[in-house]
Amino acid sequence: MPDRLIELKDVAKSYGRVFAVGGVNLHVDRGEVVGLIGDNGAGKSTLIKMLAGAIQPTSGQIFVRGVAQPHWNAARSRDAGIETVFQDRALCVQQTIVRNIFLGRELTNWLGMLDPGKERREAERLMREIGFTSKVFSPDSIVGQLSGGERQGVALARAIYNKADLIVMDEPTTALSLTETEKVFRFVRTVRAGGRSVLFIGHNIHHVFDIAERFVVMDRGRVALHATKTEVGSAERLIAFMEKLAHPEGIASFDPSHNGAVA
């Protein structure tokens, strides 16, 4: 039995009569990188927002290390060791890098007074650790002055500070340059090497295939495929499967027994 970190059971989210996510089963084990793919509107972002506690599921259950979580919210999700790098990066752009890294997790004394010296040192260290350093900004720089890649660096630094067990990354390479994308990959590998898990959501199937060991394909709010890298074989086969989903009349290239099955 692998070390199960997170498990979603029959998790669904509906807005009125529209199902954004309908009855999804998904799990992430300790120390693995799972790739979550699917077209626009497949429900990926809704799913990870539920995992992050930013929105509440309409039905279904979330288990953390085997324990059901009845009152799930953003603070509980972070307490449980889940850090999410949101697609929009969830930054406050008028605040400094330091304030964003410690957003909602301020380093304070027992009175709640901030410890600016310690926060500054930690921020410098984190930015250095993930390779997003620059001569043109300091921890006191305003995030609004940074480029897209640098902002992503701030979001990543925030995600690793807490030594989270699972880092969820929603389209982390969108709109990044090649070198910045490479930095994100190096980040994922470092996290993985440290025995932690990553749930990597992506549009670019080549990116996801390179970085992940197991794949979950979503289609119109449901899981269409659970497969390991060996089972998938190549990025091209994964792309072919996605095309088949989008155009069902196309050729089937996958063993249907995997469809919707929980691995």
Partner: protein, 339 residues
């Protein structure tokens, strides 16, 4: 034809890391406050030039120091509210209401300390009510707090039938000297008010609460996604406003040892103007307590300054407006909005 890739030396200066010294950091972090202070210095300079006899002697400053504490107690919490992305127009009525409780408890013969406590609790409770109304019912704070202002003031008028309460028993008492006496020739209220400003500035700049107020005002979605309880933070700013309004109400009442049912009226627009003159922008996420305090100082001075400078009272409004517009223009030029 071959394609050669070589880096182009544009000759442009290499981007340098901005100077990182403590002084530079201070100016960067306090641009608006420093700017407001500059406006104040220029204004006082002009007043001194126009009327040296008045502005180079003490009484004019003393008279400002009596009215300023009330403004400071209102302006500093208002900076929190504007920074969190809301507005409060109900604080004048809250101020009157809390001061009413203070007056009633004193009138009933209880210990004045109990009266202060009662007023503060009432102010915070009203703040909680207004905040909950705005945040939980998701109403526009501009309209909802305007409604609350009318309603609370109306309630006071209905119950008191417009009658004031004299608190002459407090004259020559310990409470009287603690709340409206003199220390070394300075009105004692100014020390209390400065203490309150320092407390608010620490809360705003050095405490988790201030950091969260700014984060929520900056981007409530991001703040919520990072586990900050956005509604709680918003409501807390209204509670703090209630606290400030209660203190302002007590000070106003103690200046004349009389509570009027109109207590607090007339502070609405000057207090709001002070926040923006102080350099807190309207869009939320950033603000300055010290700037707001200087803003209050500027607005308090215009009134006495214009008259003392020998102009008729008719000029007060005009100069009030002029200074506000000039200050806003200055801040516009001095600060950039990041998105």
């Amino acid at each position: 034809m071959s394609l050669e890739l070589e880096s182009v030396e544009t000759g442009a200066a290499r981007v340098k890391r901005p100077p990182d010294g403590a002084l530079r950091r201070f100016f960067d972090a306090n641009r608006a406050a420093v700017g407001t202070f500059a406006v104040f210095v220029v204004m006082i300079g002009l007043f001194m030039f126009a009327s040296p006899r008045v502005f180079l002697s003490w009484p004019i400053y003393n008279s400002v120091l009596v009215t300023l504490p009330v403004a400071l107690c209102l302006v500093t919490p208002l900076v929190f509210i504007v920074t969190v992305g809301e507005i409060d127009l109900s604080f004048p009525a809250t101020m009157g209401f809390a001061a009413w409780i203070f007056a009633l408890i004193v009138q009933a013969g209880y210990n004045p300390v109990l009266a202060i406590l009662g007023a503060v609790v009432m102010g915070m409770a009203l703040g909680l009510g207004v905040g909950a109304l705005v945040v939980i019912a998701n109403l526009s704070s501009l309209i909802a707090t305007l409604g609350m202002n009318f309603m609370l003031r109306g309630f006071i008028m209905i119950i008191t039938q417009g009658k004031s309460i004299a608190l002459l028993s407090l004259m020559d008492s310990t409470t009287g000297s603690v709340l409206s006496g003199q220390i070394a020739g300075f009105p004692v209220q100014i020390f209390w008010a400065l203490g309150f400003v320092v407390f608010a500035a620490l809360l705003f700049n050095r405490h988790r609460f201030g950091a969260r107020v700014k984060a929520v005002g900056d981007n409530p979605d991001s703040a919520g996604q990072m586990g900050i309880s956005v509604n709680q933070v918003r409501i807390a700013t209204f509670v703090f406003m209630g606290l400030g309004a209660a203190l302002a109400g007590i000070f106003t009442t103690m200046v004349n040892y009389t509570w009027w049912p109109t207590t607090g009226d007339g502070y609405l627009l000057p207090a709001i103007a002070s926040v923006f003159v102080g350099g807190t922008p309207t869009w939320g996420g950033v603000g300055t307590i010290v700037g707001g305090a200087f803003g209050a100082l500027i607005v308090s001075f215009i009134q006495s300054g214009v008259v003392a400078a020998g102009l008729s009272g008719f000029y007060v409004q005009f100069f009030n407006g002029l200074i506000i517009i000039l200050a806003l223009l200055g801040h516009r030029w001095n600060q950039k909005r990041y998105r």
